[in-house]
Each structure stands twice: as C-alpha cells, then as structure tokens.
Symmetry: C2
Amino acid sequence: MDLSIEARALSQALHKVIGVVQHKSSQPILTCVLVSASRDGLVTFEATNTNITVSVTLPAKVDGEGSVAIPARKFAEYLGTRQEGSLQLLQSGEGRLAVVSSTGRGELPALPALDFPATPKFEGMDFSEIAASRLHQILGQTIRCASTDESRASLVGVYVHEASDGLRFVATDGHRLAVSRPGDGFDWPLGGEGMTLPTRGVEELRKLIDGAENVQMAKAENHLVARTVDQQVCMRLADGGFPDYEGVIPKANDRNAAVDRGALLSAVKSVSVFAQTKTSQVEMAFGSGALTLAAQSDSGTAREEIAADYDDVELRIGFNYRYLRDALESIHDEKALFVMGDHLAPALIRPESSEEFICVIMPMRIS
Amino acid sequence: MDLSIEARALSQALHKVIGVVQHKSSQPILTCVLVSASRDGLVTFEATNTNITVSVTLPAKVDGEGSVAIPARKFAEYLGTRQEGSLQLLQSGEGRLAVVSSTGRGELPALPALDFPATPKFEGMDFSEIAASRLHQILGQTIRCASTDESRASLVGVYVHEASDGLRFVATDGHRLAVSRPGDGFDWPLGGEGMTLPTRGVEELRKLIDGAENVQMAKAENHLVARTVDQQVCMRLADGGFPDYEGVIPKANDRNAAVDRGALLSAVKSVSVFAQTKTSQVEMAFGSGALTLAAQSDSGTAREEIAADYDDVELRIGFNYRYLRDALESIHDEKALFVMGDHLAPALIRPESSEEFICVIMPMRIS
C-alpha cells in the first residue's frame, strides 16, 4: 500500500469508524481498523465488532493498492498529533505501516488484512432511499426504552414491524415501552416482516444519518445495510422474536391530563435531585387544574407545582424519574398528554396533538 | 436567614467555591458550604478544606440575617436545575434551608454555622496590590513541576523567596526544577523571607486572579490571603523548609541548541505516542543544524526531525516526554534554548531571549 491523503480527512475518517472497535480483545484483530487502498483512487477504513461493521471511503492519491489492519486507537492517537498537511501511508517491510509526514515518520505494527473479519457480501441487494431526519428522530425516540440487559437479546434494540395500523418502531425494557408510528408520510421499503435492530447498530445508524438528507437501506438475510455516499453501516439483526407488547398498551385508561412539556421536564429534573437513590421515585399528584411533583430523601425534599389540564378526581401516582424524563424528551410537542387509569395502572404518555409516538410506563407504589 | 437573589448569580458563586469542598469526609461539615447573609445586603459563600478557604460575596436582598452550612454538592445540583429568575433562601424550621422559586421549593438539611471551621482572622493585615496576569503566568509556569507526593509537604507547592539576583518562584519534584525570576518589573510586597504556597492553594489563587487586573495580597502568621472585590482565597503556607536547589542549576553546561518551540512541542507530542509506558522516554539527538526525536515501543515507532541552531558534537540524550512537554508549554518565546552538558548531565531549558524562566530536567539513560 502506498497512498497520500490530507491528514485531517484521514483523522476524521478514522474517528467515524472507531466507535465499534474493541478496546481490548482476546482477538487482537478486533482492536484494528482495516485500511484498503484501491487503484481507482479510493481508500476505505473499516471497523467491526463482528455484529456491526462501519466503513468510510475517501478519495486519495493511490500509488500502490493493498490492505492492512492497524491497531485503531494508537493509529488514531498518532494521527491526532499530525493534523497538518498531507500524510503518506506506506507498507514498510514485513507487517508494518509507516505514516510519513513532512517532518517525520511513525510506524505501527500491521496485521494481515486476511485475518480481518470479512464484511458480509450480499448478492444483488436492492437499496431504497429513506428520508434521514425523520428516521433519526424515530430511532432516537424509541432507543432510550430498549433494554440494556445483554442477556435479553430480543429486547436490546428497536423492533420494526408492520402492524394493522401501519409501521411501528417499538422498544421496551420490561418497565416501559416506546412505540413510534410514523404514519403514511414515512416510507419504509424493507418489508413488513418484523426485525430487531440492535442497540449498538441503531447508535451507529443514527450517527450515519445525522445531518444527512437521505440514506440508502437494504436488507439481506439477517443483515441490514445502510449507506450514504461515503459511509456504510452493516448490522446483524437481533435473533429471536420480539415479545407481544400489544397487551401492554393501556386501552381503558380514562383520566387525561395535558401538561406543558418543557415546564414538566424542568420540574422533573428539579425534584429528582432529591429522589431516593434506590428507587428514583418522584410522586405526581394530579389535581384540578394543577400537577404537583415531589421527591424526598435524606439529602432533602423538593416540590414543584405546574398547571395541568385535568378535571378528574385527585390521582397520586409514582414514577421512576428517568422514565418520565426520557418520555418527555422524546416528545416533540408543546404539550404532553398523560392518559392514566388508577395509581397502579400503566400510564400512557404521548404528544397531545398526535398519537405518532406513545410511551407506556409502569407506575411505582408510592413509598 | 431570609434573602432573595438572582438564581444564576447564586449558582455561579457556589461554583467558584465548591472546588475546595470535600466530596466525602468523616466530618460532614467539610462537605458543606457556609452561607451567611448580613443586614448590609451581602451574602457570602465560603468553603474550606481547613488549609484553604475560598469565599465569594454577592449583593442580595436580605430580609433576615443569619448563617447556615449546606451540603455543597446537592445544593449545587439543585441550583443547577433552577437557573431562571430569582430564588429565596429561607431558614425553615429546625436545621433546614428552603430554596423557594416561582414554581416550587426545595429543602436541604443544614448544619449549624458554628460547626463550620472558622476562617483565620488576622488583625491589621496590610494588603498590597499585585498585577494579576503576570502572577498568573509565573504560577502556571512553576506549578507543573511541583511534587504531587503529599508525603513530601515541602515540595508540594511553589516556593517564593528573595535570592541574591532578586525574587524567585521555584518548584521541584526531585526529577526536574522550575525557576521563575520575574525581575525588577514585578512587585512582590510580601517580603523576601521564603514561603511555600501549597499546590491546591496555588490552583485556587490562579482561578481567583484569572482575568483580573489586580489582586490584593497580604501575609499574616503562616497564612497568605488574596482577594479581589468579591472573592477571597486564604491558604495556610506549607510547613518546613524548601530544599537548597541552587546546586541543581547547571553552571558548566556549554552545549547550546536553540529550537523552534512550537515545532519541538509538536514533535514531542507526536513521538511520545510510541514512548514506552514504563519509561515515558523519548530520545533527542542533537546534530549539526538538526534535532531528531525518536521513541519506540511494542505499539510502534516514531521519529521527527526539526531544525536546530546547534553546531557542537552530536549529543544523544533521553528525557521523560512529560517533562519536556511541560517545560516547552511553560516557555513563552518563539525559540526554546537547551543548555546541555553530556548525556547524563541535567539539562537546562529556557526561552532563548531571556533567563526569566528556567527549567532543569534530569536526563534518562537511553534504553
């Protein structure tokens, strides 16, 4: 390999893929980034954790093609100190890659490109274009509610499927459920058969589409591939079915309260300073025209009162403040609507003006 | 206590003093900030680790005077969520302080002000004004070389004394020595008798004077007090004498090399990526007109060559790259001058154009 490239562009490309590289691994190749230069003047940086592969392609002056795997973090650290002008990447003797600048030269040990896990290759994939910003929003709304318990593989991600009322993105961790229903204006061309996008894959996908106008996506076997002009994310879909969540969505709740979303979010953050560490509980008391939040622990107490469109009997209900905060931060509307039953029934929270996004939270017994 | 104050100003004042508050302590009072309101419309926030006391005074609408000690971090955390409008601080029943906003109220446990360690009071202190920016620079140049080994109390700080050639600020950790000689233009009115400002005290003092034009300082017994209009730092000076360091400054070194400071600093940072973790060594090779830096370890090798005004015999000398970096970052000149003997003799590094600041570094045996 022998190529020349602008130093800053090289450093930026590496940073786009380094997120999936293992810090430590019993397989040293998984701590590497694969650098491949082709005669058509392109260099590709590729990183993988075997389930998710991210790659970036850049134009470069290629004088000799080839591929090598380089320890990613030392490579990035060295490039961080050489951000001026252009750099030459040059294979140097056996198993080394040299980074040559106008003032000096660094050499890193390289591993054979052949040892690098092969990116799945799919024949005749059919890519379709999706509007990026809406997908970014939907994934952001739902991913917060995904489980972080790796032993429950089917819950660690966002489930996409076609329901009777249209396409849905769903995530749950067993205590709360987020459902985003993008509606007719959103085109999802990957089929209505359910698939679960793993959490890490969703994170990389959101990075890829952040700020992009469109993204091309395709599904093949048990993988999803998303790409823009110069970047690609390939993720293995989660195995196993997603639980039947429909029954969790409350249908009979009949106590509605509309609350200014920003004021409530601010109040939740404020009182939660004094929530008990063990329970994270804040108490909400819906009364005529007003909502009072309160929390208390050894470190202090706090209470906030804000206006609420509510005219039912007083209802005191306890929630984990993190779930409330996540739900409110996922709502893009001036007012949040709480649809509740009694103090033990799952509560539904959604934008007042639409049902495109709903969040269901199990209440806690008030301590 | 009953006072009203702008929320953001309150939060900012607390952040200025919170640095010295213990995170945890067997004495809960040391995790607190003392809040004192006086009838003349001033509120003071005071924090201490018993050696260093920092205070900030703000105007407020005081309707009832008084003092209480409040757990500093929970107080700051709660104030962080209430940064709009004004807040009332109100003593609430026995041992509580209420923070009342337009929408709610938080209450924190308070400890009696009497339990808070008393700030040393000195009779008739004679304050003198010092130019803040030069002092900020001098302390910044020297403090990096102070020891961090708390068991060597006399080395954990900056020693200020009047030498035969004028005032000096000195710090050492046994491997390197920094000496700042501000010269006639700098007025230090606290006397020529040596005193060691402790590292934490220097940090708080640098915060205090950062951006200020002048600062008032006074010395009384074994304390130094520095103040601006609304802030004060009081530090207990380090006990015990500072070692006799004069002999460490090389007098017989006769090999001089002047090097572009920025280029060398960049080269040091670059090659140090591949320095061995255990030794942190980079090798410098001064040759005719050029300086070569190199480092190698299992993670790779690097070499940088830059121009140097040097015309002596080739000299290879090894340094801990952190010491080199600190010395170069403390030099405010286009060129750094290396004054060396042989590869085992302490090297002197200073700005080429002045001897106001010197740094002496012990070389390492080249491995």
